[in-house]
């Protein structure tokens, strides 16, 4: 870990001024940042600890817009009774992520910002355009079983690992951002940047900006939602493929559908293709599989991850059937 100066501001305003300093990074739960710093994958000169700041941890589900304070802990949201009842996909995405120790520490804002688990990025030595721009991508002719199928390029095929971000992509979600000078709200769809040609850039967050809240427009489709996640082991693993599906049903017919995919893309990935197939369909297993097929029609598999196309088709179908039973 490289040396840094540690500061612990008492207010958000102070934190925003500190975070604007060149070389400063924000520390919240620490589960990602401390790990990245230990591996020299992040080397901030100044660490601005905001984990203790008051007023940023509330979860408010009462209004027309759900509001998740950026410093709310994953475990608290995962076990929120109202969230489990009204937006099971969101609660499940958190419950199926990480371990209880990590969920107790990690924050909802920080979770959105977690970085890829690509081993060629994490190992600190392989050619990696994300870690050392212009150095190449070792995954292209290496072990790419975990890599993404969507939102990739010849410069980077890394996978966005987050479950929470993926589930949020199935809803009308926005990210509230503050800086010392201003505040802005960015739709989640525009918050993450597909790795594409500039793999080093993962979000639109600028130096000095802090995520303060995540908002979700309330919808009856929340109750008809689920998050399905398939992993190499039953618990405590990243998704090979995951899917969030949120439905409104009119009898057996799908009145509206939202579908997002995880484990297969360089950012939380909404599938308009799957939504189009589901909307208006009578929801049978066959219809779910057709939606899954549509979701992966544009996939770009590599050498070892083509299995995610067939697996993903079935995960979408399973999620759609579960969601329809709840709707």
């Amino acid at each position: 870990m490289q040396p840094f100066t540690y500061v612990r501001p008492d207010t958000l305003e102070q934190a925003l001024h500190e975070a604007a300093e060149p070389g400063a990074s924000v520390l919240a739960g620490g589960t990602t940042m401390v790990d990245l710093m230990r591996g020299d994958l992040a080397a901030p000169r100044r660490v601005v600890d905001i984990g203790h700041l008051p007023g940023l941890s509330e979860i408010d589900l009462s209004g027309p817009v759900l509001r998740f304070g950026a410093l709310a802990r994953m475990a608290d949201a995962a076990e929120d009774a109202a969230l489990k009842r009204d937006y099971p996909a969101l609660a499940e995405s958190l419950q199926l992520a990480a371990s209880q120790q990590l969920r107790n520490a990690a924050t909802l804002g920080g979770n959105l910002l977690q970085r890829t688990r690509c081993p060629y990025f994490r190992n600190g030595v392989s050619a990696c355009n994300k870690r050392v721009p212009g150095s190449g991508c070792s995954a292209l002719d290496g072990e790419d079983r975990e890599m993404a199928l969507f939102g990739i390029s010849d410069a980077c095929v890394a996978n966005y690992p987050g479950d929470w971000g993926t589930a949020l992509a199935a809803f009308d979600t926005a990210v509230e951002i503050r800086s010392a000078a201003a505040s802005r709200t960015v739709p989640l769809a525009n918050f993450h940047v597909a790795y594409g040609d500039d793999p080093a850039r993962e979000t639109v967050l600028e130096q000095g900006e802090i995520v303060t809240a995540i908002t979700v427009r309330a919808t009856p489709a929340g109750r008809g939602s689920t998050y399905a996640k398939v992993r190499d082991r039953q618990s405590y693993a990243y998704a090979l493929v995951s899917a969030a599906v949120a439905l409104e049903m009119d009898g057996d017919t799908v009145a509206s559908a939202r579908v997002s995919l995880g484990g297969v893309a360089s950012k939380p990935w909404r599938s308009a293709e799957a939504e189009a197939v589901l909307t208006g369909a009578t929801l049978t297993e066959a219809a779910g599989l057709r939606a899954g097929e549509a979701a992966f029609a544009g996939a770009r598999p590599g050498r070892h991850n083509a299995f995610k196309v067939e697996l993903g088709r079935r995960v979408v179908a399973r999620a759609a059937l579960t969601a329809s039973r709840r709707a």
Partner: protein
């Protein structure tokens, strides 16, 4: 280089330390306070052997900067037994069920298990497995660990 004055509350005692900001809670416990019951496993947030309680909730000490833990109540395996040395019921259950082989992961397992029961996540064996999944045991003493936790949960 910056030296931080950090006051840690560990097992009910207050300690004033001067630390490099890079010091994790895990390193502060072991290297500065001599509390070596908390183990360094992966030092990476994946194995659970460094599990401690921070403000009553289980966390991984390898992913918490010591400076971030200032002002919070930290409890380690050394703080689990009663004042007269009587083992905590979970410690006794691990002994009774032989819930270990090499013992290296055991302090983390026990700290996690105490939380698992306190959280109400030990109602079935499946639930115990799910909520203990952050603690790896390379000796694979899992069946006996689950049995020990289930015993304590039943008695609670």
């Amino acid at each position: 280089m910056q030296t931080l004055d950090v006051t840690l509350d560990v097992n009910g005692r207050t300690h004033s330390l001067q630390l490099d900001p890079r010091t994790t809670l895990l390193d502060a416990l072991r290297e500065h306070l001599g509390l070596t019951g908390t183990k360094v496993g992966c030092n990476h947030g994946t194995c659970g052997s460094c599990t401690v309680h921070v403000d009553g909730r289980r966390q991984l000490a390898c992913l918490v900067l010591a400076a971030s833990a200032a002002g919070r109540a930290v409890r380690t395996i050394e703080g689990l037994a009663a004042a007269d040395g009587t083992p905590h019921p979970m410690q006794a259950a691990f002994v009774a069920h032989d819930a270990l082989q090499c013992g290296y992961c055991t302090p983390g397992q026990i700290m996690s298990a105490v939380s698992c029961v306190e959280e109400g996540h030990a109602r079935t064996d499946d639930e115990i497995r799910e909520y203990m999944s952050g603690n790896l045991c390379r000796c694979a003493a899992y069946p006996n660990i689950v049995a020990a936790i289930a015993d304590v949960a039943r008695a609670a």
